[in-house]
Symmetry: C2
Subunit: 317 residues, 2 copies
């Protein structure tokens, strides 16, 4: 696993003066699950809060480690919930994988082997990269019998691994061959989350009931075991997306506030990137978890939900 | 990954006086692949060498990280090759998993969930443990759709993970639920080898051609990713098998010589256990690999093959 240095910080403060925070930053990065919505339900007051922030000229960015959907597919989810969000405001780890390959000028005559779902394929296609694997390898099997010799494509220059419910031996074997035997082949992970965030109401229910659903970390772990290499992670809490945003829009990282419901991904992601951080208690983290002596990750501020921006603002007037 | 402290050792010496080594130890532990056989072929001079060692009253033990076969099934392999070896002399990591559970008095009313092949099931059965999973879960699928809720057996008290060519999402999800949600559930790995040792002639051919075939490390890695826990490893290079042997037979570890063809599993295993170590060059390690400045693992001695025990003995007379 990567290790990140967590900045030594004092205990998180309850957010009291929202205006002060809002005025001090140019961009808000929001995690989605537990911040904007829970499953198929918007969290109270989200549309009004986003409208208020936009009216103040703030840039809004929505990030998710879920790689199963593309930006476009996420856009539809926002639309369904009645939120107007452009594709450019959405940073899913599927997009991050393609953006990373673009950022390093990954050659267009090389191919990407995908262990993951449709979102990654869609983003690679949009970015103009050639790929193979993905869902179509879900039914493939290997028979380790005499005479067996697995051929692999020598033009694969990167293996991208994300959450994949059709994960199997074949895919790990194929991707491992590429990583181990194609000179310079990259090993890229969309994320290493132990449990996944699924956005369906039932799945969310299962999730908050602590019925752990495997995350991308499991698929990535299989490759770490077989290749004995560490992946380059493009999703949270790696800072790639933050660096990309700062670079693309010319934002100072101290002018960004990361808002999320999870300490070990969202808040750590913000802190790794040198941003301000706000924990909302509308998702998986409770106040007692935040204040537990076992927790070493302290955001700058915490509050119940993002619509507190409205009430705390009103109170301050 | 576990980290083991490698004892600082001088460069390996070529074995010159086999009698001196033989006289100084009571037990020889042999790795099998690359030491006793390659695929379906015995390595030259092995039967005579084993006979000589037995005639001198040496205890012989054969270890393998391969968990796909039980001791009994390995016994047949030895028999087919014309070697007389008793089941008690064979320590496969399948057996080690069952022996470990016995050693900690794992309750007989608890169950073991198996991600692995037939060898593990057979050994658990012989040891009197209840198990589920294994090959029969190879065809199972999960649909992460609304309404999905995976039930798991609350009586599973240990998950044993080894090489499994029918590895799939279902098994990782099931085992992860047990590890994360059953209080005290153990996470046991037969081994973490990145590539596997298969004993079939064709597979061995593929292996030496550096066509990497996934090892147990890949299956274990998936669980490390999903549970964020480290497994208890019972195979090489963990010292469990060595401790078990020393304990069972009352042997001083300094009275054991570990003979193997791999530096990072066999020789490290011997060194971790405080044994003498002999590298044979009849498997995957060449003299130049041993003497490379990049290699930090130095056995006490090295020689071409175990039958050098006979010629070096003759020369010494």
């Amino acid at each position: 696993m990567e290790s990140f240095v967590t900045k030594a910080s004092a205990s998180a403060q309850p957010l009291k003066n929202a205006d002060e925070l809002i005025d001090s930053v140019e961009t808000f990065i929001f995690d989605c699950d537990g911040v904007i919505w829970k499953g198929d339900k918007l969290i109270d007051g989200v549309p009004e809060t986003l409208d208020m922030l936009r009216s103040k000229g703030k840039r809004l960015v929505f990030v998710t480690n879920n790689s199963t959907k593309s930006r476009k597919q996420y856009g539809k989810k926002f639309e369904t919930l009645g939120l107007t969000v452009t594709e450019e405001e959405i940073f899913a780890s599927s997009f991050a994988a393609a953006a990373y390959l673009k950022s390093i000028d990954f050659p267009k005559d090389k191919k990407v082997y995908v262990v993951g779902e449709d979102g990654i394929l869609k983003e690679l296609e949009l970015a103009g990269f050639q790929y193979l694997g993905g869902p179509e390898d879900g039914g493939k099997k290997i028979e380790l019998k005499p005479g067996f010799l697995m051929e692999h494509d020598k033009d694969v220059g990167a293996v991208v691994v994300g959450f994949d419910r059709y994960f199997n031996y074949y895919k790990v074997q194929y991707g491992t061959l590429c990583i181990r035997e194609n000179p310079g082949c990259l090993f890229i992970a969309t994320n290493r989350d132990a449990v996944t965030h699924l956005t369906d109401a039932q799945e969310w229910a299962a999730y908050v009931m602590c019925i752990s659903i495997l995350g991308g970390g499991s698929m990535v772990g299989a490759f770490v075991g077989s290749t004995q290499r560490e992946p380059l992670v493009v999703g949270k809490p790696s800072t790639f997306m933050m660096d990309y945003l700062a670079n693309k829009f010319g934002i100072q990282k101290s002018q960004i506030c990361m808002v999320g419901d999870r300490l070990d991904t969202d808040i750590l992601f913000g802190q790794n990137g040198g941003c301000k951080t706000l924990l909302v208690l509308s998702g998986v983290t409770s106040l007692s978890m935040l204040q537990s002596p076992n927790n070493s990750i302290q955001p700058d501020f915490y509050t119940n939900k993002i619509s507190d921006f409205l009430s705390l603002k009103a109170a301050a007037v």
